[in-house]
C-alpha cells in the first residue's frame, strides 16, 4: 500500500445485453474477467489495484438478470435486482420478511440503491489484511496475517477457520439460508441449481474463493420456495454503527410453530466463519420444543460448541450464543433496529 491510489486503472469493459452474451464473454476470458454487478465491492478492489483483471464484464445492461417474479408458488429474484428493490417488494415484505429485514440491514440506503442481491451474497470478505493487499493465503500466499499472536482480529472467525480466519460479511445470505433459497448458476456447461448453504464455501474447500462460482460461471437468480412463506422469522444484526457497517455477526431463523412447539426450523448465522453457517445441529435439538427462553438457552450453548476465539474476538462467542438464543426464544425487551 505504498501507493495510495485515487484513480481507476485501465481495463477493457464489456457491457453485454443478455445472459448468453455475458456467459460467452466469461467463458472467453475466464481468469482474466471480473464480473461486476452494482460495483460496490468491485471499485475498491480495482482502484486499490489489489485485484487487477484485464476485463470487466458489467452486468448492468442485462435486463433479464434484474427483477422479481412469481415462480412455482414462490419467487425468483434476478441476481442484479437491487437490495432496495428486494427490501421494498410487497411479496417479500409480506411472506419472506426475513429477507427484507436482512437486505435492509446491509450497508446504507445509497449503497442498497446500487448494490445487488447477487453482489451481496457473492461479495468478498472484509478482512482488512486481505483487503489491503497483504500476500495472505486467500490472496495466494502462504500465511494468515490475521491469525498471529499480535494480529488485530476482532472481526474475524470463531468457527470453521482453516489457515484463513476471514468471515463472510453478507447480511442477506443467512436470511436466504433460513428461507431454503436456491441459487441458479449459469456455467459453460449449462444451468445448475444449488441450495443456498451450498453456494458458500470455506477455506477448507478453496481458500481463495468464498463461493462455488468458478471462472466462467454466473449467478443469475435466487429462488425462494413457497415452503417457508409466512413462517415465524427472526433476524438480528450486530455492528459497530447503526448503518453502513458490515456485521460483527448476524442471525436469521425461520420457524413453523404448531401446537406451541417448533415443528420446522431453519437457522443460520454469518460473520462467524468464512461461510454463512446453517446450524443444523441446533435445528435438530430444538425441533419439537417450545420456542421459549429455555429452548433458546439450549440452542445458544449448542451453537457455539467448538468455537475457537482469536486474540481479540472472544466476545463473538457470547454474542453468537445470545443471538441464537434470541432467534429461538425471542428477546425479553423489544430489540431496536
Amino acid at each position: 500500500m505504498a501507493v495510495i491510489h485515487d484513480v481507476m486503472p485501465a481495463f477493457e469493459l464489456f457491457q453485454p445485453p443478455t445472459v448468453d452474451d455475458a456467459v460467452r464473454l466469461l467463458g472467453q476470458y475466464r481468469e482474466d474477467a471480473w464480473v461486476m454487478a452494482g460495483g460496490l465491492d468491485t471499485f475498491d478492489w480495482l482502484k486499490d489495484r489489489i485485484k487487477r483483471p484485464k476485463v470487466v464484464v458489467d452486468l448492468s445492461q442485462v435486463r433479464e438478470l434484474s427483477g422479481i417474479r412469481e415462480a412455482n408458488g414462490g419467487l425468483e429474484i434476478g441476481a442484479t435486482t437491487t437490495l432496495t428493490e428486494v427490501v421494498r417488494h410487497p411479496v417479500i415484505r409480506g411472506k419472506y420478511g426475513i429477507l427484507s429485514t436482512g437486505a435492509e440491514a446491509a450497508a446504507s440506503p445509497q449503497i442498497r440503491n446500487q448494490g445487488t442481491i447477487g453482489g451481496n451474497v457473492s461479495q468478498d470478505t472484509r478482512c482488512w489484511y486481505y483487503r489491503a493487499g497483504w500476500p495472505c493465503y486467500r490472496a495466494g500466499g502462504n500465511t494468515c496475517f490475521a491469525d498471529t499472536p499480535t494480529a488485530i482480529n476482532r472481526e474475524h472467525a470463531i468457527l470453521g477457520a482453516d489457515r484463513c480466519v476471514a468471515v463472510n460479511p453478507s447480511d442477506s445470505a443467512p436470511a436466504l439460508i433460513a428461507l431454503d433459497a436456491k441459487f441458479v448458476i449459469r456455467t459453460p456447461k449449462g444451468e445448475r441449481v444449488v441450495d443456498a448453504e451450498d453456494y458458500f464455501i470455506g477455506p477448507g474447500t478453496d481458500i481463495t474463493r468464498m463461493n462455488i462460482l468458478r471462472p466462467g460461471d454466473l449467478l443469475t437468480a435466487i429462488r425462494l420456495p413457497a415452503d417457508w412463506a409466512g413462517a415465524k422469522f427472526y433476524f438480528e444484526k450486530v455492528r459497530d454503527r447503526n448503518v453502513w457497517d458490515f456485521p460483527l455477526m448476524n442471525v436469521a431463523s425461520a420457524m413453523v410453530i404448531t401446537g406451541g412447539k417448533i415443528e420446522r426450523i431453519r437457522l443460520a448465522v454469518n460473520a462467524a466463519a468464512a461461510r454463512p453457517l446453517r446450524l443444523a445441529a441446533v435445528e435438530d435439538a430444538v425441533r419439537g420444543k417450545e420456542p421459549n427462553a429455555a429452548t433458546g438457552e439450549i440452542a445458544g450453548r449448542l451453537a457455539v460448541q467448538g468455537a475457537r476465539p482469536l486474540r481479540f474476538n472472544a466476545y463473538k462467542i457470547p454474542l453468537m450464543r445470545n443471538l441464537v438464543k434470541r432467534a429461538i426464544g425471542g428477546v425479553e425487551q423489544a430489540a431496536w433496529a
Binding site: A151, D240, R241, W244, F312, Y315, P318
Partner: protein, 720 residues
C-alpha cells in the same frame, strides 16, 4: 433549543439567522479548492512510506521521469524545505522563535521515514492518471527499522529511539522533560486524605474526518506564490508558507473561499501546500495536489492517543484533598501540538500534580482536532471522578457540585461563573434525580443508565483586525480575514457588523478568505474567530460611526474607511465558557450494543449571536464525542505498524443514524468581554461529551469502561 436569557435583546444579534451564503452553497455556486482549475495546471501525487520506520537507501525515479508528461519528481535528495508547523519543540504552534531552535525538524521529505504514510516522493504530471502511474514507477530501497506504536512503551529503554535523544519529545526550550504543573503538595494531600483511589484510562487516535480532504492549488507569478487551499487561518497559513519557503509574507497570497470542514485538520499550512508550491516553482506551472481520503487519514493528523494514570485523595465527606495525573500522549514521530491532557483544571483541590509526557511513536502524527487536549483528558478525569463518587456512595452530580472549579487554578476569578447554574439547570431539565439509579441496578438484559460530565473551556480575548468601507449607496463592506470552516464565520461577522453599525443585515457585504484583500485574522482554531475578529469588527464599526459623526455620510464617489486592530485582555481574570452534558443510554448486555436515548447539553457561551449555528456547533461537537466514546478508532497492525482502518468506513465515524436527538439549553450571560458578551462555542460541545457517555454506560451496566472506544467487544468482555 431553549434560551432562558436575562440579557437585553439586541436587534440583529441573537435571532435565528440562515447563513448569508446558504444559497450559493446549496446551489453549487460556491467555489471550493477542488473546483479551481488554472491554465496549464499539473497534477501531483505523493508516494508514501510502506513502513512504519525505515531508512531510505536509494530512490530511483528514472522510470517515472521517463514517462511522457511527467514533469518533476521531488524527494529528500532534491528538496530540503523544512515544514515548520509540522514539528516544533513543545508543540507551540505559532511561535517562530521556537521553530528556529526546534531540534527535531520535519522536512517535506524525511530520511529516515518515521511513520507509515510519510511522504517519500511527489510527482507532478500533466494529468492525475499519469501522476499516479509515475508514483508506481518510483523504486525505493528501504532498510526497515524497528518501530514502536504505544506511547507508554515508547519510553521504555528497550524501545527503538525514533530520534537520537530518545522518544520523549522536548519542551519549547529543547529540554527532554515532561510538562509539569503543581500546586500544593500532593504527597501531603494523599497522607491526610481519608480515601485514596488510583486508576488508568486510555484513549485512542481519532481522526477529524472532515468532509473535504486536504488539497491545494499552487501557482507562481514571478516571485509571488498564490495558494488556493482550505485552511483554518489564511493569515497563519500565509506566514507559515513564507517562512518555510524563505520569502516575505507579502510574496504569498492565500485564498480560501469555501471549504468542506476542518475540525482542526486544516490549521496552519500543511506539507501538501508546500509540496504543491515547490513543484509549481520547479515546473513553472500551477500544480494541484489532492489527498485521497486514506491519505488524509494518515498523512495529516488526528487526536493524540493517551494513557492516563490518576490518583485521587478525598476526605470522608467527599471533598478532594489531592489530585495527581501521570499522562502519556502519543504524538507520532513529529511534535505538531502540545500533547497536553486537559481536565485537572476542572476541579477545586488544594494539592495538584500533573506530569504529562508527550511521546514520539511511529504512528500517524497527532495534532489539532476540535479542542485538541480536552476530550481525551476530560474522559479520563471525569470517568475517574464518577468512579470516586460511586465508591464514596455519592450521587455523581452532588460530588461534582462539591468539587468543581470555582476559580481558575483555585486562585484567579473567572470573568463570570455559571458552571453551577449549568449543572443545576441541566439536572433539573434532565430529571436527573428521577433517572439516576445505582450503577447496574437495571435488571436488563437491556439496561438503561445515565451519566453527566461538565466543562470549563478557555475563551480568551486577543488580537485580530477588521476593515469596514462605506460608500455613498449605503453599502458597508466588511473586510475580515476569516474563512468559513462550517461554523458560519461569514454570517457571524455580518451579524456583528449590522448590530454594531445599527443597519440592516442586507446592507452588509463580507470580503473574506483572501490574504491580499483582508487584514489579519486570528484563524479558525481555538474557538477564537467570533471572539477576536468579531470584536475587531465592533471596534471598526465604532471607528466608522465616529467618522460619520465627524464627516457625515459619504457622497458621490467618496468612501469612508474604518479599521481596528484591537488586542483586548481580561486582566486579572480568566475567561471561560461553561457547560454540562446529561446522557441516557440503553445497553443491550447480551449483544454489547449501546444506544444513546437522550442527550441534553446545557451551555454558557455568553451571549448567543446566532442561535441556529450555535445550536449546530453544540450538537456537532456532542455527536463527534459520542463517536469517539463508542466506536471510532484507527487500528494498527502490531507486526508492521500499518494502519488497518483508514477512511470513513474503517474508522467507524458517526452516521446520521448513530446521532441521537440532542437538546441544547443556552444559559446566556454577558461578562463584558468579547463581541456583545459572546464566548467560545466551536469546541465546547465535544470536550465533555465522551466522558458523559462513558459515565452513562457505567451507570447502566455497573462496569467501568476505561479504554476507548467502548465497543461491543469490550462491553461483552466486561460482562462475561
Amino acid at each position: 433549543m431553549s434560551r432562558p436569557s436575562k440579557l437585553t435583546p439586541l436587534k440583529t444579534i441573537g435571532h435565528p439567522t440562515a447563513r448569508i451564503d446558504a444559497v450559493e452553497r446549496v446551489t453549487g455556486k460556491a467555489t471550493y479548492t477542488g473546483d479551481v482549475h488554472l491554465p496549464g495546471m499539473l497534477y501531483a501525487r505523493v508516494l508514501r512510506s510502506p513502513h512504519a520506520h525505515a531508512r531510505i537507501r536509494q530512490i530511483d525515479a528514472s522510470k517515472a521521469l521517463a514517462l511522457a508528461g511527467v514533469k518533476f519528481v521531488l524527494t529528500h535528495e532534491n528538496c530540503s524545505v523544512v515544514w515548520g508547523a509540522g514539528s516544533i519543540s513543545g508543540g507551540r504552534q505559532y511561535v517562530d522563535d521556537i521553530k528556529k531552535i526546534t531540534r527535531h525538524k520535519r522536512y517535506l521529505f524525511n530520511n529516515p521515514v518515521r511513520f507509515f504514510g510519510e511522504p517519500v516522493a511527489a510527482v507532478a504530471a500533466t494529468n492525475r492518471h499519469l501522476a499516479e502511474e509515475a508514483v508506481r514507477l518510483i523504486n525505493v530501497d528501504y532498510e526497515v527499522l524497528p518501530f514502536v506504536l504505544d506511547q507508554e512503551a515508547a519510553l521504555r529503554p528497550e524501545s527503538v529511539k525514533i530520534w537520537p535523544e530518545g522518544n520523549l519529545s522536548p519542551t519549547a526550550k529543547n529540554e527532554m522533560e515532561p510538562e509539569v504543573y503543581r500546586r500544593g503538595n500532593v504527597e501531603e494531600g494523599f497522607r491526610t486524605a481519608d480515601f485514596v483511589f488510583e486508576d488508568r484510562y486510555t484513549t485512542t487516535y481519532v481522526h477529524n474526518a472532515q468532509m473535504e480532504p486536504r488539497l491545494c492549488v499552487a501557482g507562481w507569478e514571478g516571485d509571488k506564490l498564490t495558494l488556493y487551499t482550505p485552511t483554518q487561518g489564511t493569515s497563519n497559513c500565509r506566514h507559515d508558507m513564507a517562512r518555510d519557503l524563505g520569502i516575505p509574507d507579502e510574496k504569498v497570497r492565500v485564498i480560501c473561499k469555501y471549504m468542506g470542514g476542518g475540525f482542526g485538520n486544516k490549521n496552519q499550512n500543511q506539507d501538501a501546500d508546500l509540496i504543491a508550491a515547490v513543484l509549481a516553482k520547479e515546473t513553472g506551472a500551477p500544480v494541484k495536489l489532492e489527498l485521497s481520503r486514506k491519505e488524509d487519514f494518515i498523512g495529516v493528523h488526528g487526536r493524540w492517543p493517551t494513557t492516563q494514570y490518576y490518583k485521587v485523595g478525598v476526605s470522608r465527606d467527599g471533598v478532594l484533598q489531592a489530585l495527581q495525573l501521570r499522562g502519556y500522549s502519543g504524538m507520532g514521530p513529529y511534535r505538531k501540538n502540545t500533547g497536553g491532557i486537559g481536565g485537572i483544571e476542572l476541579y477545586q483541590c488544594p494539592n495538584v500534580e500533573s506530569v504529562t509526557y508527550p511521546v514520539y511513536t511511529n504512528r500517524a502524527v497527532s495534532g489539532n482536532y476540535r479542542a485538541p487536549e480536552f476530550p481525551q483528558g476530560f474522559f479520563g478525569i471525569e470517568s475517574m471522578m464518577d468512579d470516586v463518587a460511586y465508591k464514596m456512595k455519592m450521587d455523581p452530580v452532588e460530588f461534582v457540585l462539591k468539587n468543581m472549579t470555582r476559580k481558575s487554578d483555585d486562585e484567579v476569578p473567572y470573568t463570570n461563573y455559571t458552571l453551577e447554574e449549568c449543572i443545576r439547570r441541566g439536572a433539573e431539565a434532565f430529571e436527573w434525580k428521577k433517572r439516576w439509579h445505582p450503577p447496574g441496578a437495571d435488571p436488563g438484559p437491556i439496561k438503561r443508565g445515565v451519566g453527566m460530565a461538565f466543562m470549563a473551556l478557555r475563551s480568551p480575548t486577543g488580537q485580530s483586525s477588521a476593515v469596514i468601507r462605506l460608500d455613498s449607496n449605503g453599502r458597508y463592506t466588511v473586510f475580515v480575514g476569516v474563512t468559513d470552516i462550517g461554523a458560519g464565520a461569514k454570517t457571524t461577522m455580518a451579524l456583528i457588523a449590522a448590530e454594531a453599525l445599527g443597519v440592516p443585515l442586507s446592507n452588509i457585504e463580507i470580503v473574506w478568505g483572501d490574504t491580499d484583500r483582508c487584514p489579519y485574522s486570528v484563524g479558525e482554531s481555538g474557538s477564537r474567530t467570533t471572539d477576536m475578529t468579531g470584536y475587531a469588527v465592533i471596534e471598526a464599526a465604532h471607528d466608522l460611526k465616529r467618522q460619520i459623526a465627524a464627516k457625515g455620510l459619504p457622497k458621490g464617489d467618496n468612501v469612508l474607511i474604518a479599521s481596528a486592530s484591537p488586542n483586548p485582555t481580561s486582566e486579572g481574570k480568566v475567561r471561560k465558557a461553561f457547560g454540562a452534558h446529561f446522557v441516557e443510554v440503553e445497553v443491550d448486555t447480551e449483544l454489547g450494543r449501546v444506544r444513546v436515548l437522550k442527550y441534553l447539553a446545557v451551555q454558557d457561551s455568553g451571549r448567543i449571536l446566532n442561535p441556529l449555528t450555535a445550536t449546530s456547533q453544540v450538537k456537532g461537537g456532542a455527536t463527534q464525542g459520542i463517536g469517539m466514546a463508542l466506536h471510532e478508532d484507527l487500528l494498527y497492525d502490531r507486526q508492521t505498524g500499518q494502519p488497518l482502518t483508514t477512511g470513513y468506513y474503517g474508522t467507524r465515524i458517526m452516521t446520521h443514524l448513530d446521532a441521537p436527538e440532542i437538546e441544547v439549553i443556552f444559559i446566556e450571560s454577558d461578562d463584558g468581554y468579547g463581541p456583545f458578551g459572546a464566548k467560545c462555542i466551536g469546541e465546547a460541545g465535544i470536550v465533555h461529551a465522551v466522558a458523559a457517555v462513558g459515565n452513562a454506560v457505567f451507570n447502566a451496566i455497573g462496569r467501568r469502561m476505561k479504554d476507548l472506544p467502548i465497543t461491543r467487544d469490550k462491553i461483552l468482555g466486561a460482562l462475561v
